[in-house]
Symmetry: C2
Subunit: 127 residues, 2 copies
C-alpha cells in the first residue's frame, strides 16, 4: 500500500498555455463573480422561485403569499427579506399591511430564460 505519488493537477504537458493566457485576462474580478453566484443562489430555492412567480401576477402582501403557497408567515417573511436584499423585490407599507412586488425586469428575463432552458432540454433530446 505504499501510496504512489499522483500529480495533484495535470503535468505541464497537459495544460494548454496559449488558451490559458488568452482566457485569463478575460475573467471578471473575483468580487463580481462572487456577487453573481450570490444572486443566483437567491433564485436557487423553490420557495423563493414560487414567490417570484406569484409576484409576476400582482403585488401582494405577506399573508396572501403565505396562503397561496401554503406556508407559514414566518417562512415567507424570511425569504422575502432574502429577495429584498438581492434587490429582486421591493416593499411598500400601507397601514399594517406590507405589499411586495418585483423590483425590476431582469427577474422576468432570468426566470424566463431558465424556463426555456428546462423545457428545451426536457421536451426534446438535444434540440
Amino acid at each position: 500500500m505504499a501510496s504512489r505519488r499522483y500529480a495533484e493537477v495535470c503535468e505541464e504537458v497537459c495544460t494548454h498555455p496559449d488558451i490559458l493566457n488568452r482566457v485569463k485576462p478575460e475573467m471578471p474580478d473575483e468580487e463580481r463573480l462572487y456577487d453573481l453566484a450570490e444572486l443566483f443562489k437567491v433564485f436557487g430555492d423553490t420557495t423563493r422561485i414560487r414567490i417570484l412567480y406569484v409576484l409576476f401576477e400582482s403585488e401582494m402582501c405577506v399573508c396572501d403569499i403565505a396562503a397561496l403557497l401554503n406556508m407559514t408567515q414566518s417562512a415567507i417573511s424570511h425569504q422575502l427579506r432574502v429577495l429584498k436584499q438581492a434587490r429582486l423585490v421591493r416593499s411598500r407599507r400601507e397601514g399594517k399591511t406590507v405589499f411586495y412586488s418585483l423590483d425590476d425586469d431582469h427577474v422576468r428575463t432570468v426566470i424566463g430564460q431558465g424556463m426555456e432552458h428546462i423545457e428545451e432540454k426536457h421536451g426534446r433530446k438535444q434540440a
Copy 2:
C-alpha cells in the same frame, strides 16, 4: 407566561381573495418550479460560475480549468458533472483529454442578465 394564541397565518380579513383567485391558476406546476430552482442552484456557486465564465472564452480540458481557477482537478471534475447534468456544458473526448464547452446560449443570457442586475444595483442607486 400563559402563551397567547397567535394566528399562524393572517385572518381572512387580511387575505385578498380576489387576488388569490386570480393568481392561483397562473402558477406553473410544482414540478416545473422545482426544476427551475434546481437549475438556478447550479448557477449559485462561485466555482461553477467561474467555470462557465472560463468556457465563455473557449472549450477547455479539466486540468486547464483547474489550473486557471487554481483548484484541484477533483473539485473541478465534480462541478463539471453538476454542470453537465444540468445540460449547461457538454464534453467531448480526444484521447486522454476531455474538453468541455457551453451547451447552449441560455447560459450566456442568464449570466448576462444576472451581471446587468448586479451592476445596475451596485453602481447607481435605483436607476
